[in-house]
Structure formats: C-alpha cells, structure tokens
C-alpha cells in the first residue's frame, strides 16, 4: 500500500519535472496571431470567433469567420514544445478541436452532473416518504402518494419540464421559477422521486416478514422498526436499481436543452451547429461514458460497503 503510493508520487514528480520545459516553451497568444496568414485576416466576416486555449503544456488557437449564414472559414493551430502546427485535417485537427471545445464541454458536463446528482438525491429523499406513504394503512395518505407516483411516472418527463418552465408562470405568475437550472432540478427531482419510491417500496417489501415480527416482539414502534431495522437492510438491495435510475437521469438531463439549459448535450449541439463539425458528438459521448463508468464504480463500491454483513 505504502510502496504503491510512493511509486505513484514518484511518477507524478517525474512527469511534473519533465513538463517544465514544455510549459516554458508553450506558444502564447501573440505567437499564434503572428502565424495566421494575411489573406485570412483580410476576409470580411459577419461574425468572428477567436478561441485560444492554454493548457500550459499544450495550447490551441482557432479563428472562425462566419462569411454568410451558410459559409464559414476557419484556421486552427496546435502548439507544443515551441512548435506551432497548422491543424487542417485528420487526427491533428480532431485533437485541436478537442482542446478548443473541452472547456465549454466540461462546463456543460458540470451542469449535467450537478443536475443529476442533486435531482437523484432529492428524489431519493422524497421517495422514502412516498414509499412509506404508499404502504400506509391510512387510506387518504396512501391515495395521495399513489396518485403522485401515477402522475409522475405516467406523463413524459419532457412535458413535466416544459410545464414547470413555461406552463406554471403562464398559469400562476407567482410560481415563476427564476432560473433554468432550478426549473430542471424541480422537474427531475419530482420525477425521480416517483421512480425511486417504487424502487424503495419493492426493497422494503422484499425484507423478510420475520424481521417485522422480531421488531414488534421487542417492542419497537413503526418509526424505529423502519429506521433502525428495515431500511438499513434495504441499502444493499437499493443500490443496483438506484444506479440504474441515476444513469437514466444522467442521460435524460439532455432533455433540458428544450428550456435552453446549457448542459453537456446542449453545448454539444451548439458546437455542432456553429462549426459544422460532427466529431464533437464522439467527444461528448466519450464524456458521458466516462461519467457513467466512474459512477458505476462508485455504486459497486457502495454495494460492497452495505453488503458487508452478508
């Protein structure tokens, strides 16, 4: 364990030392500007977008001129170790594009992850009450919870989102949601709550009846039976379906483009429309896969942790 840590630290140190000359010689913005050919500079454009991204070790520069609504021209360069390489085609262009787009894609990724994590957490919180409510002996409560679950599972998430952002302010102006992210969070939490409620209900009902009887025989009331005995036993069983729900929400977060929230999907499609480069989809899908893989790993670890007693 200690040895492994030392080796990792050593490698990192070597990499850091090795990259010093690269950082020193990394081309600056003015180096790139000097490289742009004069005929490109003279092009008249309706809109011009200059992107310079400095990753310290490598850097990248691109200048896009929108000549008309259908025609755009672009020069891009890629710089490393004091060299500036024109990135016109092939793998080097793809690589330069990745570097140029990455900051905005990561910005979108942040929103996607934030939305997913907060929504699923709120959803789980809601769903515990919904699930217990749906199993309650008190009929009105049971009906309310059932109706809630029926509604949010029975209508499209897209429409729920649309309704909260556009519908509510039109119907009841006091219920205007101030930010796009907030609206998305509300819609996704309410929706996720309904799905998680059924997951939690199934998990509780899968616990052996003998556990309830043992709790009752020892004098536990309903609340303590649930919180100390039954619900802790559901944790391990909950992880796989909740992981599934999490991944579904992660991808459903793409729906927020309809209310123009700049999540990963929205950023991807704007890059695609403004540059005409379809390769951005590959990068974007790659990012989704990385997130999914990372969270899957986390869920497997959680499952192990909660299953320690088995």
């Amino acid at each position: 364990m200690m040895k492994k840590l030392l080796i990792t630290l050593g490698i990192l140190l070597l990499l850091a030392l090795g990259s010093i000359p690269l950082v020193m010689t990394n081309p600056t913005l003015s180096d790139y500007e000097g490289k742009v050919p004069s005929d490109f500079l003279q092009i008249e454009a309706k809109k011009e977008a200059i992107v310079y991204v400095d990753y310290k070790i490598v850097s990248c520069y691109s200048d896009t001129k929108q000549i008309s609504s259908t025609r755009a021209q672009q020069v891009s360069y890629f710089g490393v170790a004091g060299q500036i390489i024109p990135a016109e085609r092939g793998i080097i262009k793809f690589f330069a594009n990745v570097l140029v787009w990455l900051p905005s894609l990561l910005e979108g990724t942040k929103i996607t992850i934030l939305l997913t994590v907060t929504s699923v957490l709120t959803g789980i919180f809601l769903s515990v009450f919904l699930a217990l409510g749906k199993m309650s002996k008190f009929t009105p409560l049971r009906n309310v919870c059932s109706a809630y679950i029926f509604f949010f599972r029975g209508t499209p998430l897209l429409m729920q989102l649309y309704f909260i952002w556009f519908g509510l302010p039109a119907l009841i102006p006091t219920l205007t949601v101030s930010s796009r992210f907030l609206a998305a969070w509300i819609a996704f939490s309410l929706n996720s709550g309904a799905y998680c409620a059924e997951i939690i209900r199934a998990a509780i009902q899968s616990i052996d009846k003998g556990q309830f009887e043992a709790a009752k025989a020892l004098g536990f009331g309903y609340g303590k039976t649930m919180s100390k005995i039954i619900i802790p036993q559901t944790y391990r069983r909950l992880i796989p379906p909740l992981a599934n729900e999490f991944i579904m929400v992660l991808k459903d977060a793409a729906l927020t483009s309809i209310i123009a929230l700049k999540d990963l999907s929205k950023v991807t499609s704007s890059i695609m429309t403004s540059t005409g480069e379809v390769s951005v989809f590959i990068i974007s899908m790659g990012i989704y896969l990385v997130i999914t893989a990372a969270f899957s790993k986390l869920f497997v670890a959680l499952e192990k942790k909660f299953g320690i007693y088995e």
């Binding site: 003998g210 009887e213 043992a214 025989a217 004098g219 005995i229 802790p232 007693y309 088995e310």
Partner: protein
C-alpha cells in the same frame, strides 16, 4: 400470580377456525410445553399471546391485567397502543427462524432494543449485552455478523436478544425446528438453564425429551383445541385422550 390467562380464545382466518376456545392459565415460574401435530394451532396460540396474531374472540390477561376481551374481533377493553406495548415487553419471544437482524453484529443485535425501546444508556446496555452473550456461551462471537454463525449459535443470540429486554416470561416458537440435529442440544441447554433459574416459559416444541425433562406441564393441542393438560410424567406414560395417544405413539416411535 398468573402470568398468562386466556379464556375461550378463538382465532379465525375467514371461515377457517385456527383456535377454538383455548382456555389456559400459566403461573409464574412454570415451564409449559405445547405439543401436537402440525396445524394444531400451537404457534398461532403462542403468537396471539404477544399480539403477533390478532384474536377473534375471547379474553387474554397478562399478569392479571385484562388486555383483550374480543367479540367478533372487536376489543371491548379500552387500552392504548402504548399501554399494550409496555405490557407486552414482559414477554420475550424466540422464533423458529431466529429472525436476527442481519445488518447488525451479535452485540448490536442484543443491544438495540434495550437502547432504542427501554432507553437504556449505551454503556449499560453493552455491559448487559456482553453478560447475556456470555451466558449463552458466545462471548467469542460478539463482533460477528449473524450470517457467519451456525443455526444453533444464531438461536442462542436470539435468546440473549430477547432476555436483554428483561422479560418476565419467554415464549419459544419451535426454537429448534430449523436446526440441524447436532445443533439442537446447545439451544436446549440454554433453555434448561433459563428454566432452572425460574423463568416462566411457554415452549412450542417437537422435542419430547425436553418436554419430559424440563416441563412442569405439557399441553397437547389438536385441531385448534387444547385437548390435554397434564404433568409430563402423566401425559407421556398415561395419556387420557385418544388423540394424544396416537400422536405420542407416532412421535416417540420415530424418535
């Protein structure tokens, strides 16, 4: 003082009558074994004593306090949920399938109810729990999860868990029926110790040897009725009822 008294206890499941007019009184310090063929209602009778089954008709006293006087399932006695729970804490229960809490260690299993229900301080509960675990002979297993224990060990933990609530009476619902034959002895040994200490016990069992040796009274149930109620030496050597004879013959022959 009688610990338990039932009068004409009946239990229906729809049209099916599980218990028919079961009347019985159990005095403090008595060890009573309930025997009979499966489906005779022994477990249902035991479970209705601590409210795991709701009775349909009849009266139930615990420590001479009337808890239930039911007519068509409706209780004529006004008693709050809280009061009933308090009284039922006097009854400890041990199940056929142990029903230990699998997510808690042996120590935590025994400590949980004293801390959460009796509001005992954690330190005191731990001392009590360790003492009881030692009593059932599992002091080397305190920090082990139930899944790592044999059936006999699990059942002993379950007994310790019930004892931790300091009950005045223990109900055993076929405590050795789910065990491998070689593990039965260790559980019966713990139960014998309890009996010797003067604990009031009702034991639903198929262990005729245990009934003979430990019980003060043996009760034979058949088709929901209490058919015979006699000291063991009498019931095993000279059963009065024809049903009892047939049952004991078949059981003792296969043993």
């Amino acid at each position: 003082m009688s610990m338990i008294r039932t009068e004409n206890l009946c239990k229906d499941f729809g049209n099916l009558k599980i218990l028919k007019d079961c009347s019985l009184t159990i005095e403090q310090g008595e060890v009573v074994c309930l025997i009979g063929p499966s489906g005779a209602g022994k477990s249902t009778y035991l479970r209705s004593l601590n409210y795991l089954e709701k009775i349909t008709e009849g009266k139930l006293w615990i420590e001479e306090k009337l808890l239930d006087d039911r007519i068509s399932g409706v209780n004529q006695v006004k008693i709050s949920q809280q009061e009933r729970t308090e009284i039922l804490l006097e009854l400890g229960m041990v199940f056929q399938r142990f029903n230990l809490f699998p997510h808690l260690t042996v120590l935590q299993n025994v400590m949980l109810a004293p801390v959460e229900v009796r509001k005992m301080k954690k330190n005191d509960a731990e001392i009590l729990a360790r003492e009881l675990i030692k009593k059932v002979g599992l002091e080397d297993k305190v920090d082990v999860f139930p899944s790592k224990l044999s059936g006999g060990q699990q059942q002993r933990v379950a007994i310790a868990r019930a004892l931790a609530m300091k009950p005045k009476m223990m109900l055993f619902d076929e405590p050795t029926s789910a065990l491998d034959p070689e593990l039965v002895g260790e559980v019966l040994q713990v139960m014998k110790t309890l009996a010797a200490e003067g604990m009031t016990m009702i034991v639903v069992t198929h262990e005729m040897g245990f009934a003979k040796e430990v019980a003060d009274r043996v009760i034979f149930m058949y088709e929901g009725r209490i058919v015979e109620d006699a000291p063991p030496e009498e019931i095993f050597s000279n059963p009065k009822n024809e049903r009892t004879k047939v049952f004991l013959q078949s059981v003792l022959n296969t043993n």
